[in-house]
Amino acid sequence: MRVLFFAQLKDATGCNAVDLAAASPLNTPQLWTELLQRFPALAAHRPNVRLARNWEYAAPDAIFADNDEVALLPPVSGG
């Protein structure tokens, strides 16, 4: 699955996006485990980050599959 980072999360990870190869679909805690392994710096942001799956905010029980586009969204500040 493709995972996108926005705003300050780009600074924290040093990249815009990453391809995660998951053997099977992941639930939210599993996704975070994968991400924190690769990007420990995300830990500090985790409480404020919302997850999106295929351009919609993901429910807490969402399952993230290989074809999904996942995004990590820090608190927004548009307008």
Partner: protein, 591 residues
């Protein structure tokens, strides 16, 4: 409610008109959010905004639809600027039209509150007063994310052909593989590598009708001790002076034999006199062709007749292959009449339906086609009757309605259907207003309405997505030479020029569609190497076809290739090396 959403990196216009006829609505409420010159007590010169464009557009639409259920309004227009926005300039514009002011004010107030909570747009950094707006402060453009803000016609940097192809490739992921019978698997992409389950041939076999004897048996006379037909399996050891009658293809009874052709012996009852011995043993040795475990057909191969014959040989009758694609195609436009009807002035016959159906012939798929009215509300209700077909489709194609005209609505339609728009224009002629959207594993294209644009966009864009979804190889460019010179005015966009590709050996042109296609060319197609220009092996020769606008269709009678002509190219000489895309579907083979 009519909704229009733009994300742009250009300044937002000073004057924006309400939708519809003047006087159609009683209230047109406008709001502009302006970048302040102070941020956290510091004087700033500009703010840099960043967006997740695919999601921001959808989220804005979702919020407006939700809020308008409580505060019904006629129309809303939202423009959010991203990138570096100087202080004093508009970051967001919202216009709301409604019969009376109360609803518009309520909707606007609530929308702005929700936007600041939910729409994925960020103030990325403040640029202090005194700093120059130099490159370092320009919005950082992550290759394939930020640039997708190209939602509006006003966005500056359009994707190049290569960027668009890479984007389509990366977002068209292979669909889950399925098992299919050999007949069903024709044309699908093999998703597992098929290896030899045993040596081929599995035993030594005779290649002649004759007599098998020990390879080193120098006897002149032999006794015939057995007869082995093609289907027999009779293992036995042969002694010196013993021979076995064997048929062509028969399994030899043991190792280390040779076969003397029946023409080279004299037979007398059970006795045999060898009159001549050849050098050849006339034996096809076990594992001579392939050893057990050796790959026979690789994953990613489009299964053609020959590959299927190999699978049949090794008994693999249910290979793992790409699923049959489900493709839904809509034409749009009120000017379109079916091809069997006579168009009235201003109308044209629909040529795109059969064009798309024909081009899809090369891909195993189920195609459903329909027509949508040009009125957005009517189109929406037509679509809501087909929700299940749309939900089931792997690929959605919408013809027409892709330029930025008043009646064009493909983009809004795709967003309505849940697609995130990845890009809505590319820097290409013809085919500039190409729209590409994704929704999970599903992809959608808005194809510019003209048939030539359709033809071009299908071959470089849709075919790339189909290859991605099936796990196959995307269309590939090759090198060839122009067979005549190209006179063209410099044009600011890259061009895919319709052409006829032929194979030239010396001064002779061999048509690609004729049977006598040389081996050297097939090799070249496999390796992607430059076609050698010497006369023995021949070369790819490309004849330019005349076309003046994307509405031209006559060149499609002969086109079997598209030549890349770089932007701002003032012409190319006869013999110039060019990159071209051979169009397998038009040549009639799976290149």
């Amino acid at each position: 409610m009519e909704i229009e959403i733009q994300l742009t990196d250009r300044a937002i216009a000073e004057t924006i008109l309400p939708p519809g006829q003047p006087g159609a609505v009683g209230a047109w409420l406008e709001f502009r959010g302006v970048v302040r010159s102070e941020e956290n007590g510091r004087t700033i010169r500009a703010l840099e905004y960043e967006a997740y464009p695919e999601m921001a557009g959808r989220e804005i639409r979702r919020l407006l639809q939700k809020i308008s259920a409580r505060h019904p309004c006629r129309a809303a227009k939202v423009i959010h600027r991203v990138g570096v926005i100087p202080a004093g300039e508009t970051a967001i514009y919202v216009g709301v039209a409604s019969p009376h002011r109360g609803e518009a004010i309520a909707l606007l107030a609530e929308f702005m509150d929700r936007l600041k909570q939910d729409v994925p747009i960020w103030k990325r950094r403040a640029i202090a007063d005194g700093a120059r707006l130099c490159a370092e402060h320009q919005p950082q453009r992550p290759s394939n994310v930020q640039a997708a803000a190209a939602g509006s016609a006003t966005t500056a940097a359009l994707r190049s052909l290569d960027e668009a192809r890479a984007e389509i490739r990366s977002r068209s992921r292979p669909l889950p593989a399925v098992r299919a019978s050999l007949a069903e698997a024709l044309g699908r992409v093999l998703r597992e590598t098929i290896c030899a389950p045993e040596d081929l041939p599995p035993v030594d076999r005779s290649t002649r009708d004759g007599y098998a004897i020990h390879a080193d048996d120098a006897s002149k006379t032999f006794s015939v001790v057995d007869t082995i037909h093609a289907a027999d399996w009779k293992p036995r050891q042969l002694k010196t002076g013993e021979a076995v009658r064997v048929a062509t293809g028969a399994a030899l009874p043991c190792k280390g034999l040779r076969v003397v052709m029946q023409e080279h012996v004299e037979r007398d009852g059970d006795k045999l006199h060898v009159v001549r011995r050849e050098n050849s043993t006339n034996v096809r040795l076990r594992s001579e062709e392939v050893r057990q475990g050796q790959p026979l057909v690789s994953a990613g191969t489009k299964l053609h007749a020959g590959a299927l014959a190999i699978l049949a040989t090794v008994g693999n009758v249910n290979p793992l292959v790409s699923p049959r694609l489900r493709i839904l195609h809509f034409t749009t436009g009120d000017e379109i009449v079916p091809p069997d009807k006579t168009p009235k002035p201003g109308q044209i016959r629909d040529s795109n339906s059969i064009l798309i159906r024909g081009l899809l012939q090369n891909f195993p798929c189920d195609v459903e086609q329909g027509h949508l009215p040009e009125d957005f509300e009517r189109a929406k209700s037509a679509i809501s009757n087909q929700q299940s077909a749309i939900g089931n489709a792997d690929v959605l194609l919408v013809s027409g309605g892709a330029s930025v005209g008043e009646k064009d609505f493909t983009r809004a339609l795709l967003e309505q259907l849940g697609f995130g728009i990845v890009f809505s224009q590319i820097n290409l002629r013809p085919g500039r207003p190409l729209i590409f959207g994704v929704n999970g594993s599903r992809v959608a294209f808005g194809l510019p309405g003209n048939p030539l644009s359709h033809f071009v966009c299908f071959h470089f864009a849709v075919a790339t997505a189909l290859a991605g979804l099936t796990g196959g190889q995307p269309p590939k460019f090759f090198r060839g030479q122009l067979a005549e010179k190209l006179d063209d005015k410099p044009y600011p966009r890259e061009t895919l020029w319709p052409a006829r590709w032929e194979w030239r050996v010396g001064q002779t042109f061999l048509s690609a569609s004729s049977g006598d296609f040389p081996v050297a060319c097939a090799d070249n197609a496999n390796t992607g190497q430059e076609c050698p220009a010497n006369q023995q092996t021949g070369m790819s020769a490309l004849h330019l076809l005349a076309w003046a606008s994307s509405g031209d269709i006559t060149c499609l009678a002969a086109a079997n290739a598209l030549i890349r002509v770089p932007a701002n190219c003032a012409g190319l000489s006869n013999g110039a090396k060019v990159d071209f895309l051979p169009l397998a579907a038009m040549i009639g083979g799976g290149l």
